[in-house]
Symmetry: C2
Subunit: 366 residues, 2 copies
């Protein structure tokens, strides 16, 4: 991927192509008002109709490009998302299929702190695919999860994350788990000369996300698993922007599915899981690979891959992290689709047979 599609020429504007089922002109007219002034256009002053209401830039039989002025999307990522998909999300038969970002000085978003090359240098891995796995199953004690984490770190897995659902369940309370798993990974690294990182799940109350991230770092965690579908994309952005925290971020797609899986409605897989995750600071983007437990197609996965990688001035690239039922046998096929700049997320399959043997075999296969 070299550069994104050109939708318009004004670097201060945000351009969005919406695919529309139905009367394209009528829906386009509705969208450009709905996403800006939400007011009878004929009652608005002329200058507001011209400078604030979205402008139709292009239309074809099934889609329209609408552009939005810098003043409209000003105020941060939340308002960018609101302009892209706020009230229009309530329309049937409309889907965001392409986005052209404004120039970085207008957009004002920093994106991933590390990106692909940053993650490689943090982990000391020059060119091979990165390896990730999840601590499971829920119900295990913190001691059991920590023991598993230690084995995986010694075996050479780069990134060891909590299963995203692990929050503050009684079997493994959050602080206890984070402390034990972080310690186990750091100890294993020292013993085995590895450099694994532990990423706890920030499946925690919204008003504690930033404080728990700091706490996780103090306890020895060296990355974070964030759930933007639950805690919001802008909470992830705030974590990524925190210069004192400065931890790599893996984004999990929990609750994001309904935005992408309905044909003709929502946002394209690449837009939501690739582009928006990047804008929100994800260094790594978890999504269900084709042929696993979920129904994403090869094309949809390739779209996420491309949106993670496509050059966007001022916004680092992210690492696609396909998971959701992957196995050791499928590694070559995954690398065929994603190339070397990928995080291979293999979870439950490592536990079929001996965990250490499987994890070691995975690491040595690369």
């Amino acid at each position: 991927m070299s550069a994104p599609t050109v939708l318009g020429r004004d670097p201060s504007r945000l351009y969005v192509r919406y695919a529309i089922a139905g009367d394209v002109d009528a829906v386009a007219e509705a969208i450009r008002v709905e996403q800006t002034i939400e007011f009878p256009a004929d009652l608005a002053p002329d200058w507001i109709q011209q400078e604030v209401v979205g402008q139709v830039e292009d239309r074809d039989e099934g889609s329209v490009v609408i552009s939005y002025a810098a003043g409209v999307y000003a105020g941060g990522l939340g308002q960018v998302l609101n302009v892209l998909w706020g009230n229009v999300s309530l329309f049937e038969g409309v889907r965001v299929v392409d986005v052209q970002l404004p120039a970085p000085e207008h957009l004002g978003l920093r994106g991933p702190r590390f990106g692909v090359s940053g993650m490689r240098s943090l982990l000391g891995v020059a060119s091979r695919p990165l390896l990730a796995t999840a601590l499971k199953p829920m119900g295990s004690s913190s001691e059991e999860l920590a023991a598993t984490a230690g084995v995986l770190a010694e075996a050479g897995i780069d990134l060891i994350k909590d299963d995203h659902s692990l929050g503050d369940q009684p079997w493994s309370p959050w602080r206890e788990r984070v402390a034990r798993c972080a310690e186990a990974v750091l100890d294993a690294n020292e013993m085995a000369g590895t450099s694994a990182r532990y990423l706890p799940s920030l499946n925690v109350p919204a008003d504690e996300v930033l404080q728990r991230a700091d706490e996780a770092k103090e306890l020895g965690a060296e990355g974070l698993l964030v759930l933007p579908g639950i805690t919001g994309f802008d909470a992830m952005r705030a974590l990524a922007d925190d210069d004192d925290l400065a931890l790599p971020i893996m984004s999990h797609p929990s609750m994001l599915g309904s935005h992408v899986v309905n044909p003709g409605q929502g946002l394209d897989h690449g837009i939501l899981l690739g582009l928006i995750n990047r804008l929100a600071g994800a260094d790594m983007v978890v999504f269900p690979n084709y042929g696993g437990r979920f129904g994403f197609s090869v094309e949809q996965c390739a779209q996420i891959r491309d949106e993670c990688a496509v050059a966007r001035p001022g916004v680092r690239s992210a690492l696609p992290t396909p998971g959701g039922g992957m196995t050791l046998e499928r590694v070559p096929e995954i690398l065929d689709l994603f190339g070397q700049d990928v995080v291979l997320l293999i979870g439950g399959a490592l536990h079929r047979g001996d965990l250490r043997t499987n994890a070691t075999a995975l690491r040595e296969s690369l």
Copy 2:
């Protein structure tokens, strides 16, 4: 509405009915594992299979009831949402159509601070429908919006909110707007003997939501408009739970549409916009009424109405706030559907002709 449907008998468990297109048994098996251990069930210890994995309680030709143990959904609203709809959101052809909550002592959520009767007593309105409107259009200066707010307060509109998209645009920066509009409403109340409340939009950075809410209160705002589809339901819950803040909350559906508008996938309108908004502390629930700018049906609106009102021990009821293109002429029809416990949200239509005349006529028609 007297009581919700009975899905099961254990007060500690969360029961969810999922409508399933396709092989009900196979998808049910997938869901009960996906929403809990995300791990090959046969590899999990017996006790985890029995006590942690979701249990199939009932099935018919097109749906299944799965129940989840208290330990699984423990940790707050974020994890409750994750259990209801986290990874399953990535499945096609699955929809949450009914939910039975655990008993309040297990659920641990306080819900709306004021609810229907609390809002009535705050506003001093015993039995008539409440009236709300939005400050528009984007592009107006803070001075213009404040002048509009004053007119609406004097005319007897109860709740005057920012248009949800108003964030920190250059035409009306957030602090300036909140200060001016709050002052205008308080002054108008004093002049006219009314008791209108101004609700600024918390369309602000995620890491500033709580602080901006405090600031809004200091500046004289007497309620908050919150965007859970952007800042997250649990951020709204945190605002509602804040005993020092103690302001009424109106929930706006921006970005929530893709969870409800796709037939056969997502969550039922009543579940997301009624039940989940209530669990997250919304005193008032904005949604697009049928026959306006959006495609919600009468039945979907009635479902939201019922879920706002249905008796749920420990969780106050909420006020349905139908909007999205309502007019003065439609008031009798809206009251036929929703009854008197409703907030009539009429925005742009008040501006066609003279604002003060229209707002006064609306108030006097009740």
